[in-house]
């Protein structure tokens, strides 16, 4: 016995033995020894591990109680003694650990102690509470008593950490009832309690349950009929398979999975930026589940799909499916421009650990960030071991498409063609160089164009501004020869293999440096050569469609530094440094967007981030984890050097001198006198460079020089049509076009794995020791032997045979979704604060079954839903209701509410609106007829309908959703236009004949019930429905009569008014000077034009409009009520960059804010340019754009007329970004230069009227009317805009119209207008309360509101 005790326990025992002789319970030494052993082995560890934290002599003493030695324990606390030796029943301690009283529950904020432990305490007290601890523990003793290894060993005894037992189903005594193993396990327990299971559910109930649970949709009437009639012996299993094999299965179950990993498409916080292409992950889940990809494979992919040796390739889509799985690691919440970047990293890494550990292991590792876990065998070191694994991966966009194998061939061919083009070019250029003389037209033209600093400028200015040229020359020489004194803390030459290999790269060219003279072909346009380049690392040596990703190693900023990058790029390629892996930009997180194809040193001061860790990133435009510009398909970068120097030390910028170096080398110091002499030097330098290029020993300076010469246009860079050069170029471009555009998915960029230091009490400002990357120590604390992150090893450890959590967790999740409640009712928490399994053996049986059947999710679902237990009816016996109210014994099927998505999908399905054919793709808005799984999940703007019905906020793993009852749900089902529209649509399919035919009324009622509820109505229900129809019909008729009278009155007056105005307009037209009209400019030709008096058709092109919401054409104008009404065009047929838009508009109210008149926006609605009224400042026009990206104050006048007359507003977007506004043909305010214009891609852009942003939400809708509008794919001149405004002979302004009316007419007009307004108001009032269109719609709407509709039995 003594051998098993730690040394100090033995010492204590000896001491206490001596002391206890004087105690109040004189007992024999032998008995004493066994009591002490009992205390030491059963009581002391519990006291130490679960109580000392709050109750110790030298630390916290909650309630004045210390439990760390005998005297204190016996003394008790503020409420008196806590134990009465010999009397467990009277001991406060026992009451406390039983947790029966609300006021006294111990351990505090912890799980209840195991029953056996409580029993031990009772035994111990009953036997006199022998306690050998005669003094408060020393720090050392305390350390030993609360030793983590010992604590962990004890905690590992918790059921979920125990190995999975191989169990057989209990022997079925009654073979008919217990054919299925699940039923045997269930019956075993039921029998013991004497509960009778319910009968099998009826066919109608069963098919509805099966359909809703497996597909998330109600069964169609045809399916119900067929199912009920199906007499085949295997009919049920066949139906299960039909549903499992339907594409809707994946859509339904992917959403469950999305709950587990807190699926989100934006990062939240200020700005709430989208996670680019997050939806690819959703589609990946749907495909994977439909294809029944084994769970172990999916788990592997979720952590390390990008690292597994044999990824799953989807040949049809050309996708590396496995890699997409890692997107879940990117669905973290990100703050905006945090000044403490490490704090941010801790938070989002914690987020990753939290989700991964809960979703796949059913435990919360992130609880151990600040201290060893309070209840589980999870140490603080475990958390930091995982931290290293997660933080070693850098946020990134990873490539997930797999280019066809033929592409390698294509690239070989392109390379050969390129070499041949180069040869031909050099030959041509040699000749051209020879022909360069001061009189040649080419040179004269080029010199005229050249500006100071250009390569040809010295040549153009040498005779006119010799002094200036000389000065510049001197400066260049100084720069070229200047000594570099600054100490470089880091100096990477990205042209050099040994330096470049220290960086981390991806992409066809970016992975290795290129030599000088590397060059690129222009993929489009007139030019042949795009760039001739010095040595460096490039993303685009084959194509600008290729992606490039270049990361530096981690850099610790121990001092204030500056970062200098020598970079070049175009198409919004990006250079930046990332602090502690934070992926967003903003305020103290600057980025460099490269647009312009020029070499420059970009300086990034780093002094602010002293003490932090950074790395440098250079990427193509679409390859940033948050800042990706996915529509920018062409983009490239080049980088030559990355240098870090102490803050504000001088740094020699030699870029300018480099261009001239070949010339400087020839002239030495002396600049020639004449232009012709200098030209000779230029010629010589060009010759030399061309020769060097040909022979592949071009210097960097020569490359830069040659590139500049080429751009100065003295050498031909265009191919004459029909020449062999042109043909080669054309072939090359055709090949290039065939290269696949990379598909990017959010993921992790694998660079250098590193071990994380542990933070003292979770305080990131207090680093302690490094913790190696490894799994959780309850299973294995061996550090990972890898230079990589360790994600692959982590996934493999989760899948180890001796890890009991993984399979238990997943089979329980599946059980939960099938039965509405798990065998462990807390599916995300298998720890001590979770609930224990109701049927532990069954859980282990299922875990084994799952693994033995290839980890197949469909298999286990089929297995479970073919059990009698699953098929049972929801009828509950009185006994069951009384003795097992929570149905823990599964004597019947539990009734439960459908999830938000299933409710919305059911509404759409039953109403016939549901679009099942469109699967996958970028997310849609709530008004889409597609399944809810495709709705946008934007953290700060979650879908209100789904949120109302408990769709989770994407914050953490949510394996079990709430099913709450809040009034908003009822209000929504009663009054939400979406629900009402579904009801209307549903009955719109019923024919007029059916509705009026008394014979078929009953038939229709039956049909509605069957469609929505999966059953026929009872006779009583049918009669009640008939009565309801009748009552609603009568109520409607009386209202309809009123509406009819009023409508007629409005129409009458309106017609008179129109006639009056039309006559006046004609008078105006006729009175116009015919000659003047002829002289007027007829106006420019638009790309699209609409005159709303004529309809919604585009009069010029194909951009016809559709009306949305309550938008309507009335009185020759498009009427917009500011409440979700707008008009939308078909997609634009071509790319739009520069543009002009104009509209003739009238406002209902000058005080309205943010009314969008006309807007060009992309399909997603995130990017737009728009004519907007009163947004930043009231009553002013502005050029609206997404988050004001291209918007500035126009400083125009306050609008005063647009309420009473038509105002013409035009916006012109010039190619240099200048935006100019016009009002009634005259410039409005001041033009300004914006960051634009941006390109709206062909088939992506469309035009909106009455709305300036995506869906009709918020208060950004126009209240007013539009008479005409035009859209131009170019920037019109001021004259053209003027002409468009007043050059239309048929346009009569309000002012002219009023002037043409005589006094009597005017007063008549005013009277009529006011009459119309009053009557309309009455009408509006009645109409708004008119209810649904038809009594049948009332019935369908009522059926939607039946609880039965949103519940499954």
């Amino acid at each position: 016995m003594l051998n098993n005790l730690p040394l100090n326990s033995i010492l204590l025992w000896i001491c206490s033995l001596a002391l206890s002789l004087a105690g109040s319970f004189p007992v024999s030494a032998a008995q004493k020894a066994s009591d002490i052993e009992f205390f030491e082995s059963r009581i002391r560890p519990i006291l130490a591990q679960d109580c000392y934290e709050c109750h110790q002599s030298k630390g916290p003493q909650k309630g004045g109680l210390a439990l760390d030695h005998r005297e204190a324990l016996r003394r008790g606390g503020d409420s008196g003694p806590v134990i009465v030796p010999g009397q467990p029943g009277d001991s406060l301690l026992i009451q406390a650990i039983h947790q029966t009283s609300e006021d006294l529950q111990m351990p505090k904020s912890g799980a209840k102690l195991e029953a056996s432990v409580i029993a031990d305490f009772e035994t111990w007290i009953a036997k006199g509470a022998v306690d050998p601890r005669d003094h408060p523990p020393s720090e050392e003793e305390l350390e030993t008593d609360t030793n983590w290894e010992a604590v962990m060993e004890r905690r590992k005894q918790w059921w979920s950490f125990q190995p999975i037992k191989t169990v057989d189903a209990p022997y079925p005594p009654d073979a008919t009832r217990r054919k299925h193993p699940v039923d045997a396990f269930i019956a075993d327990k039921l029998e013991a309690t004497g509960l009778e299971p319910s009968e099998e559910a009826g066919g109608e109930t069963l098919i509805r349950r099966l359909s809703l649970i497996l597909r998330g949709l109600p069964p169609s009437p045809e399916e119900i009929e067929t199912f009920l009639a199906d007499q085949r012996p295997n009919a049920y299993v066949d139906w299960v398979d039909t549903f499992l094999n339907s594409p809707q299965f994946g859509e339904r179950w992917a959403r469950h999975w999305m709950d587990w990993v807190r699926y989100a498409e934006s990062h939240g916080s200020e700005g709430d930026p989208m996670i680019p292409n997050a939806w690819l992950y959703r589609d990946y889940l749907i495909r994977s589940l439909n294809n029944d990809v084994p769970y172990d494979q999916l788990l592997l992919e979720h952590l390390a799909g990008d690292l597994i040796p044999n990824p799953r390739i989807n040949e049809t889509l050309g996708l590396n499916e496995s890699a997409i799985g890692t997107a879940q690691l990117r669905m973290v919440f990100h703050g905006f421009a945090p000044t403490d970047a490490l704090d941010e990293q801790v938070r989002f890494t914690d987020d990753q650990i939290n989700v991964v550990s809960k979703a796949f292991q059913g435990i919360t590792v992130s609880c151990a960030r600040c201290h060893d876990h309070k209840f589980e065998p999870i140490s603080q070191k475990d958390f930091y071991a995982w931290y290293g694994i997660m933080a070693s991966g850098r946020p990134a966009m990873i490539q997930v498409n797999v280019p066809p194998t033929s592409e390698a061939d294509l690239r070989v061919k392109m390379k050969a063609l390129k070499a041949s083009i180069k040869e031909e070019l050099i030959a041509t250029w040699m000749i051209e160089t020879e022909q360069l003389n001061p009189d040649s037209d080419v040179l004269m033209e080029a010199l005229k164009q050249s500006k100071k600093g250009d390569v040809l400028w010295p040549l153009s200015a040498i005779e006119t501004d010799r002094k200036e040229v000389l000065e510049a020359w001197k400066a260049l020489l100084e720069q070229a020869n200047g000594a570099e004194t600054t100490k470089r803390v880091h100096d990477w030459n990205l042209a050099d293999h040994s330096d470049a290999s220290k960086w981390f790269a991806e992409g066809p060219s970016a992975t290795r440096p290129a030599h000088s003279g590397t060059w690129t072909l222009a993929p489009e346009g007139k030019s042949i050569v795009q760039n001739i380049l010095p040595s460096g690392t490039y993303s685009h040596l084959m194509s600008t469609k290729d992606r490039g990703l270049l990361h530096s190693p981690r850099i610790q900023l121990d001092q204030p530094y500056d970062l200098w990058l020598l970079v070049n790029g175009d198409g919004n390629a990006l250079a930046r440094y990332a602090v502690q892996n934070y992926p967003r930009d903003g305020t103290v997180y600057p980025v460099e967007r490269m647009n312009g194809s020029r070499w420059h040193w970009r300086k990034f001061p780093l002094d602010y981030w002293k003490g932090d860790q950074i790395h440098i990133e250079v990427t193509t435009a679409a390859d940033q984890p948050v800042l990706a510009r996915l529509n920018q398909t062409r983009s490239w970068f080049g980088i030559r050097n990355a240098v870090i120097v102490p803050s504000n030390t001088p740094f020699n910028n030699r870029v300018a001198a480099e261009t001239f170096q070949p010339i400087l080398a020839e002239t030495k110091v002396d600049l020639p006198e004449s232009q012709s002499a200098l030209l000779a030097i230029y010629r010589k330098s060009i010759f030399k460079s061309l020769t060097a290029w040909k022979n592949k020993h071009l210097t960097n300076a020569q490359a830069v020089f040659l590139d500049a010469i080429l751009k100065s246009k003295i050498l031909t860079n265009q191919a004459q049509a029909g020449t062999s050069l042109a043909k080669k170029l054309e072939r090359w471009r055709r090949f290039e076009e065939h290269l696949a555009t990379p598909m990017r998915s959010p993921g992790q960029f694998e660079t250098e794995g590193f071990d994380q230091v542990l933070f003292d009490r979770g305080d990131h400002k207090k680093p302690l020791d490094v913790v190696p990357r490894r799994f959780l120590e309850f299973l294995d604390n061996e550090p990972y032997q890898t230079k990589s992150s360790g994600r692959l090893e982590l996934a493999q450890d989760m899948l180890r045979d001796d890890n009991p959590l993984t399979t238990r967790v997943i089979v329980n999740r599946i059980w939960h979704h099938l039965f509405g409640k798990g065998i462990v009712a807390t599916p995300d928490n298998f720890g001590k604060l979770g609930l224990p399994p109701t049927h532990p053996e069954l859980l282990d049986y299922l875990a084994g079954h799952f693994k033995n059947n290839g980890w197949s999710i469909k298999n286990i679902i089929r297995f479970l839903v073919t059990s009698e237990t699953w098929k049972r009816s929801s009828d509950t016996s009185d006994l069951a209701a009384a003795s097992d109210p929570d149905n823990q014994l599964w004597s019947h099927y539990s009734v439960r509410r459908l999830e938000a998505e299933a409710i919305r999908d059911s509404l759409l399905a039953v109403s016939g609106k549901l679009d099942l054919d469109t699967m996958y793709g970028s997310p849609v808005n709530g008004n889409s007829p597609r399944r809810s799984v495709y709705l946008r999940v934007k953290r700060n703007d979650l879908d209100p309908f789904l949120t109302l019905f408990d769709a989770p906020v994407p914050a953490s793993t949510r394996g079990r959703r709430d099913a709450t009852n809040v009034p908003g749900q009822s209000l929504s089902m009663l009054n939400d236009p979406f629900v009402i529209d579904c009801a209307e649509q549903w009955v719109a399919q019923l024919t007029e004949k059916d509705l009026s035919n008394a014979q078929s009324v009953r038939h229709q009622i039956q049909s509605l019930f069957l469609q929505a509820l999966g059953r026929y109505p009872s006779l009583t229900e049918t009669i009640q429905a008939e009565q309801f129809l009748k009552t609603m019909h009568d109520l409607k008729e009386s209202t309809a009569a009123k509406v009819q009278t009023l409508s007629e009155r409005v129409m009458e007056v309106e017609s008179a008014l129109n006639q009056l105005e039309e006559t006046a307009r004609n008078r105006v037209k006729q009175s116009r000077d015919q000659d003047q009209l002829k002289a007027a400019v007829s106006g420019p030709t638009p790309l699209a034009s609409w005159t709303f008096s004529a309809g919604l058709e585009d009069e010029v092109g194909s951009l016809d409009l559709e009306l949305l919401g309550e938008a309507k054409l009335e009185g020759g104008a498009l009427k917009l009520n500011g409440r979700g009404s707008y008009a939308r065009s078909k997609p634009l047929p071509k790319d739009i960059k520069e543009k002009t838009m104009e509209a003739w508009v009238q406002l209902d109210d000058l005080n309205q804010r943010g009314g969008g008149v006309m807007s060009l926006q992309d399909q997603s609605g995130t990017i737009f340019d728009a004519i907007v009224y009163g947004e930043q400042a009231s009553k002013k026009w502005l050029a609206g754009s997404n988050v004001f990206a291209r918007t500035q104050d126009l400083r125009g006048e306050v609008e005063t007329d647009a309420q009473k007359e038509w105002v013409h507003v035009a916006l012109r977007y010039q190619v240099d970004g200048t935006i100019t506004a016009y009002r009634n043909g005259v410039q409005y305010g001041k033009p300004y230069r914006s960051d634009g214009p941006i390109t709206f891609g062909a088939n992506n852009g469309h035009l909106l009227f009455g709305n300036r942003h995506g869906s009709p939400s918020g208060n950004r809708l126009l209240k007013g009317q539009i008479a005409k509008a035009r859209f131009y794919d170019r920037a019109l001149s001021s004259e053209e805009i003027r002409a468009s405004f007043d050059g239309d002979p048929n346009f009569v302004s309000q002012k002219e119209l009023l002037a043409a009316l005589n006094e009597a007419e005017l007063s008549k007009r005013n009277r009529w207008i006011s009459q119309i307004a009053t009557t309309r108001a009455q009408l509006e009032n009645i109409r708004s309360k008119q209810g649904l269109s038809h009594a049948w719609a009332d019935l369908s709407h009522a059926i939607f509101n039946l609880k039965e509709f949103i519940y499954v039995r």
Binding site: G271, A337, K374, L942, Q969, D976, I1023, T1031
Partner: protein
């Protein structure tokens, strides 16, 4: 003639009407009358005797400058334009200028003589002695969204319950026709950065979440306006109710189904209660004028409407009301962060002060004269303060190291000051406290022990105050 014999319109309609009078309409009406009786079982037992019942949070989103409002620093005047003599911590824009003294005048106000700047003339004159100013608030967060989450939920990210939800969870809702946690908006106000997640129930049951009440909108609450006349709706509801009863039986009287059925009654009553709430018919012209409901400045008028509505909600037993400032579009102060004057601080803060001063002062006066201030805690706070040195030439950056909030009513010591910042108003020097202390104290006044007020989630007993928080005993009277 039997009811089953169709179609006799007269009979069937009469029978339906008869059903109405004994059906849904009456049921809803009787429930309205009996709400007092029903209220009791919903309210859990507080931990100790409560001093207050309700909270009104005037959230100054964007972060108002403490040194320009409630924490005068005369020293800044003498150092104007000079560099900060102490180390400057990281700021969010890193565009730090020199010392920028307060452009407003401070005055010692009321009997107590606490300092209030000229930004708030009505607070100065009407209620200085009601304010308990805490000058030693600190935060760990330097950006809006995280600061807002931290203030509202105690955690700097989405997913945790907001204080309003915690309080409703602790005390229960006294009003059966209104949610217990209401966020008011008007004039196009929007939630602070972070979005509606700031008002979330988090992992608490959903009925604790805030309802956003757009007090000047056509529909103050989404879908609150019936699309049909009452008679039609009652007919519909009675039909639904009848059929639901069958389903309830079939589902063995599932409590969940029963609650879903009852939920329709609440919704039905809300359709009346909400319009009645936002209808100001019962308010006198003098009261409206006191608040400034018809002020010519639209933002002020809109905010005044919220203040008046907050009083009406508190009268109706709503536990927690949060008000939303409106942007004046000055100096980076956008819709979500109106107080965020990174530039043009004098004009921006001046306009924001003008927007909220009279409405809030009026609300305090009105609550007081109705005897409601004692049982209502009014909080005036933002997510952080602003730097004593300029950002650019005339703005201020975020300063989480020391800033002010004030409390009024609810058993707090009026006309008192707690804690202090250094002579620049940069760091706290005396009695540092944070949002956990603030909520611990507010909960205390509501009779809740913040350490006992927990909810089991994700394997932990989670609190509003996380593992922190001390009740600020000094500010309690």
């Amino acid at each position: 003639m039997s009811d089953n014999h169709l179609p006799n319109p007269m009979i069937s309609r009469r029978s339906m009407l008869a059903k109405c009078s004994s059906g849904f309409g009456l049921m809803a009406f009787s429930a309205l009358r009996s709400r007092e009786l029903n209220a009791a079982p919903m309210a859990p037992k507080p931990h100790y005797q409560a001093k207050a019942k309700n909270v009104i949070l005037c959230y100054m989103s964007g972060g108002f400058s403490h040194i320009d409002t409630f924490d005068p620093k005369p020293k800044l005047k003498s150092l104007a334009g000079k560099p900060m003599p102490v180390n400057i911590e990281r700021t969010q824009f890193n565009n730090n200028g020199n010392i920028f003294p307060c452009p407003f005048e401070f005055k010692r106000c009321g009997q107590s003589g606490i300092d209030i700047s000229s930004m708030f003339p009505k607070l100065q004159d009407w209620c200085a002695d009601d304010l308990t100013v805490i000058r030693s608030m600190t935060s760990k967060l330097n950006e809006h969204a995280q600061g807002n989450f931290s203030f509202h939920t105690g955690f700097p990210f989405i997913g945790h319950p907001s204080a309003g939800a915690w309080i409703n969870y602790g005390l229960g809702n006294l009003n059966h026709n209104m949610p217990g946690y209401v966020v008011l908006q008007s004039g196009g106000a929007v939630p602070p950065h972070g979005g509606v997640g700031l008002f979330s129930n988090g992992f608490l049951p959903a009925h604790h979440q805030a309802s956003i009440l757009k007090v000047d909108a056509r529909e103050a609450v989404a879908n609150i306006v019936p699309r049909e006349v009452d008679k039609q709706q009652q007919t519909r509801l009675n039909f639904i109710e009848t059929l639901d009863q069958t389903f309830l039986k079939q589902s063995n009287h599932s409590t969940q189904v029963e609650a879903a059925i009852r939920n329709y009654e609440t919704a039905y009553r809300m359709q009346t209660a909400v319009p009645e709430l936002v209808d100001l018919k019962g308010e006198t012209e003098a009261t409206k004028k006191l608040y400034g409901v018809d002020d010519p400045h639209p933002q002020k008028a809109a905010y005044a409407l919220q203040c008046l509505m907050a009083r009406r909600l508190v009268e109706r037993g709503v536990r927690f009301v949060e008000l939303s400032c409106l942007t004046e579009n000055i100096g980076a102060g956008g819709a979500a962060n109106p107080w965020d004057q990174h530039g043009d601080l004098e004009r921006g803060h001046g306009a924001m002060g003008n927007q909220v001063d009279q409405p809030i002062a009026a609300m305090l006066v009105d609550l007081k004269r109705r005897g409601l201030l004692d049982e209502t805690i009014v909080i005036f706070a933002g997510e952080f303060g602003r730097t004593p040195f300029s950002q650019g030439s005339n703005g201020r950056d975020h300063n989480p190291f020391g800033f002010s909030v004030w409390l009024a009513g609810g058993g707090f010591k009026g006309g008192s000051i707690y804690g202090a910042t250094d002579e620049f108003g940069y760091h706290v020097t005396d009695k540092p406290c944070d949002v956990y202390d603030l909520w611990a104290t507010v909960l205390h006044q509501l009779g809740i022990n913040h350490e006992e007020h927990t909810y089991l989630y994700a394997g932990r007993n989670v609190r509003l105050t996380d593992v922190h928080g001390n009740v600020l005993k000094d500010i309690i009277s």
